[in-house]
């Protein structure tokens, strides 16, 4: 009873944001957020520590027909914690990020922004806690709406408003699929709820309904080819919002997919393979496109697609494991993917916050105008480096742990597998290792071009480090990243338990016990690495202190007038890669070659761009086609009243004629 009152209080108190004086709006929101985070985290913690299957909290008076019940099971508890961490850190970061906007935007705009932020968070919490279909769709809709308002914070720019609306439309396309799926369930079972899914799945074919749900949730999660909103909306939103959207909001799609899988009974193998294939395509294509981006936040958005691919690969393996009755594969696949959900929420939000800091300092998101930022912004640079290393899955950071679990799922299942299954798994190994290599390419490029070398523009030259209020939240995230990376058994053990309980995997002790031991070895190795590195660096310092150390210009091969413009740019770094990836990415360049008879070449320009081919084929081309048709119909819109009367007359005649002929 107390629980529901407290939760309802937070829901309603959020309205007060509009009435609090401007100075205290932020603090009020923060306090409310903190209370909610503590409340819901305690719920999750209690459930995870205890032995109960679910924790039920009826929101309104517990009458018989009430459907607005918060049901927390282990899966939901996990997602609640993930959501809480990123949303809280994001809001701490937002104070510094929003500071420059305080003058240019009025209090109402801020109220709307904070209110939407609170409700994005609340709706995400409720998405994972609500089982009833209709209530679920309502909070799902609130999530889309509140994130829409957050994206268009900078709506003075027309392009941002346009992006926001396109985002809203695509979200609703996704919701439509989920709605249909729920209606099908209701028609068969009479109940519209996730709880009814089990009943539906026992009596009917599983795959079609799963595909409906999957399509709807995959639009949110950003699986290719349903990712088209993602690279547009993330760069448009303010950075703390991009961090939350990319870090946790897209994970709601993952949650939905998992929630459906829990109830599935048959068709598991084919479902697993479908998820696996789509995920690997998303992973490889996502990072391939990320490499071509010059806009830092757009690059991160594509990298989000890549990571969703990795998460999906884990889910695909888990489902395959369920189908093949292989507890090791199921446990490792699902655990890897759940852990990657947490890991990605940490490092991707970190990177987005970081990109926000860079944007605030340089007023650009274009990599080609950055360079040498590490000199003026050492904290931001180190934080970006930590995020990059983590996202590439390199030890001793957290990304490695989840990728390791997924790899192990693959390897473990290889020895007893059938021919067909071996080929699928080996294909996934290739895909995952390729993703790893490409991610390293992507983030060495991003970090190297943005933060290292010499400044490429005045903006980069005059950049100043952002306030401590913006870097401290990022340090908190890095601390969590290192905690998972260096003390993985602490986190993986609960994840193992969540997975075994949620997906009812048998005989997990052997596998989970063995892997906790393996992870302990990895932790030891992480410690060894840190000690060896520290030893080398200390000795190096000592060694250099007794030698002559000079400074000079970078080796220019005899040329002494080098400028920052001669550095390798983001585009030239990817030139070789582009050469290979061209058939897939369709990058195009616009330039006119220097002709032979041109003795004094005139000024010319060179533009290269890489468009999202899937967006082009799936959204742009059909839209152009539709617009073409509508334009032709617009001939009728003459603006002369006589014509319109004529249309009305023709219409009535038509109705008359048709009713005489008894067609209508």
């Amino acid at each position: 009873m107390l629980n529901s009152v407290l939760f309802l209080a937070i829901l309603f108190l959020s309205l007060l944001v509009f009435f609090i004086p401007g100075k205290f709006k932020y603090h009020f929101t923060l306090v409310l957020l903190l209370c909610g985070v503590v409340l819901t985290s305690v719920w999750s913690g209690m459930l995870l520590a205890g032995d109960d299957q679910v924790l039920e909290i009826p929101l309104f008076a517990p009458s018989a027909g009430s459907t607005f019940i918060l049901t927390i099971d282990r899966l939901a508890a996990f997602f609640i914690i993930v959501v809480n961490i990123t949303v809280l850190v994001g809001f701490l970061y937002a104070r510094g990020y929003l500071a420059p906007y305080l003058k240019s935007k009025n209090a109402l705009r801020f109220s709307i922004h904070y209110f939407s932020y609170l409700w994005l968070w609340l709706s995400m919490l409720m998405v994972v806690m609500i089982r009833d279909g209709l209530s679920f769709l309502i909070v799902w809709e609130i999530m889309a709406l509140s994130s829409f308002f957050l994206v268009i914070f900078d709506a003075e720019e027309r392009s941002i408003l346009k992006t926001g609306i396109s985002y809203l439309i695509q979200m609703h396309a996704g919701m439509f699929f989920i709605l249909i799926a729920f209606l099908i369930v209701e028609k068969t079972t009479g109940r519209m709820s996730f709880d009814a899914l089990g009943e539906y799945f026992t009596g009917n074919r599983n795959l079609p309904l799963f595909l409906l749900f999957f399509t709807g949730f995959a639009i949110k999660a950003g699986f290719i080819p349903l990712h088209t909103w993602l690279p547009e909306a993330h760069p448009a939103a303010p950075s703390h919002v991009s961090g939350v959207m990319s870090g946790v909001m897209i994970k709601m799609g993952i949650y939905g997919i998992l929630r459906v899988i829990v109830s599935m009974q048959s068709d598991l193998l084919v479902t697993g393979i479908i998820i696996l294939v789509i995920s690997l395509i998303s992973g490889v294509l996502g990072v391939m496109m990320a490499i071509m981006q010059k806009d830092l936040k757009r690059l991160l958005a594509y990298s989000t697609i890549e990571n969703v691919g990795i998460i999906g690969a884990g889910i695909g393996l888990g489902v395959t494991g369920m189908a093949l009755d292989s507890p090791a594969l199921a446990l490792l696949g699902f655990s890897g993917s759940l852990l990657h959900v947490l890991n990605h929420s940490l490092f991707k939000s970190l990177l987005f916050f970081n990109a926000g800091s860079v944007y605030q300092a340089t007023h650009t998101r274009n990599l080609e105008q950055m360079g040498g930022l590490m000199k003026n912004m050492p904290s931001t640079a180190l934080l970006f480096l930590a995020g990059s290393l983590a996202i590439c899955g390199l030890p001793p950071f957290n990304g490695f742990i989840s990728e390791y679990l997924i790899y192990m799922g693959m390897f473990q299942s290889l020895s007893g597998a059938t021919l067909y299954h071996s080929i699928v798994v080996l294909g996934s190994v290739v895909g995952l290792s390729l993703i790893g290599g490409l991610a390293i390419f992507c983030f060495t490029r991003a970090f190297g071009v943005a933060f290292l070398g010499a400044p490429r523009s005045d903006k980069a030259l005059h950049a100043r480090e952002v306030s401590a209020g913006m870097t401290i939240p990022q340090y908190i995230t890095v601390a969590l990243i290192l905690l998972i990376g260096l003390a993985s058994p602490l986190v993986v053990k609960p994840v193992f338990e969540i997975v075994t309980r949620t997906f009812a995997i048998d005989d997990p002790v052997m596998v989970s016990g063995a892997f906790t031991a393996n992870l302990a070895q990895i932790s030891i190795m992480g410690g060894v690495f840190v000690v060896v590195l520290a030893g080398l660096l200390v000795y190096r310092r000592h060694h250099l202190s007794r030698r002559q150390v000079d400074t000079g210009p970078t080796w220019g091969c005899g040329y002494t007038a080098g400028t920052a413009r001669q550095q390798y740019t983001a585009t030239s770094f990817a030139y070789n890669y582009n050469h290979i990836a061209k058939p897939v990415l369709q990058t195009a360049k616009e330039m006119d070659e220097i002709k032979e008879e041109e003795i004094f070449p005139r000024r010319r320009s060179f533009i290269s761009h890489s468009d999202d081919i899937i967006k082009k084929a799936l959204i742009d081309r059909p839209l152009d086609w539709l617009a073409g048709i509508l334009k032709r119909i617009a001939v009728m819109q003459t603006g002369q009243i006589q014509h319109y009367i004529l249309y009305a007359f023709i219409f009535m005649l038509l109705v008359l004629l048709l009713s005489i002929l008894k067609i209508i």
Binding site: M410, S422, I440, T554, I580
Partner: protein, 303 residues
Amino acid sequence: MAGFILIVIAAFFVPGMILRTKSIASGRKGPGLFQPVKDIIVLLKKGSVFSTTTGLIFQIAPAVTLATVICAMLLLPFAEQKALLPFEGDFVLFAYLLALGKFFTIIAALDTGSSFEGMGASREALFSMLVEPAFFILLATFAMFTGYTSFSVIFNHFFVTGNDYVMIYSIIGVYLFIQIAMVETSRLPVDDPKTHLELTMIHEVMILDYSGFDKALIHIGTYLKFALYGSLIYNLIVPAGWNIFLQAGLFFAVQGFFAVVIGLTESFRARNKMNKNPKFILTLSAIAWIAFTVILILTDKLA
């Protein structure tokens, strides 16, 4: 422990043997066997010059790279002795540790702001990305064949089956490991450490600005990496059950063989054209698929 020490010892003479092989093959007198070690001693005595463009990353990168190689060495077994830190899936950590070292080498090159080094960094990033799948396919086939996923156990179980196909598989495996090692340590035919033009370098151009202590660290890392891959090849060829002294002798023989193969390749083969390199590296993955097929036959999955 023995494996660790043997790798360190091998690192003393493997690079010298490569140089020696090359000089003999080209009819030169050539430097002595321990010239590379002497070079490192000289470097350690010297002071350092740092570019004004560079910063922290440039300074710590060589140490990070060396630390990753040292940690990777802890994962390799020797004979019946297990590695110092064996666990299931240690080869994933092995690959990712080396990748961490690469990451730092690449960003350190970008830290100098030199277009030459940027070019090298771009190439290195591309080629090491492409070689990754070959390594993983090969190790996945090990895992599939033996049912284990730790270096220490895989190699112990490798020869137990007694199936003749294992020979074919060993040959493909050794060939692939040599090729992967040569890509990873920046040797011919992908990269040529002795080239004199910055435009044609890959690894060498990335470390142009290093001097003194840091350069010594980079060299030590490279030499250890040779011995590291030599040790992998050794484990693949020699069954684990034999006498420990015979094993140690064989270990150095294999390391020597590895060095001679590299030396001979570099003497008689021209470097690839730069834009042929991706094709060359991807071919390695294709060969790894053949190894996979062999294993499929071995495990009776493909009749």
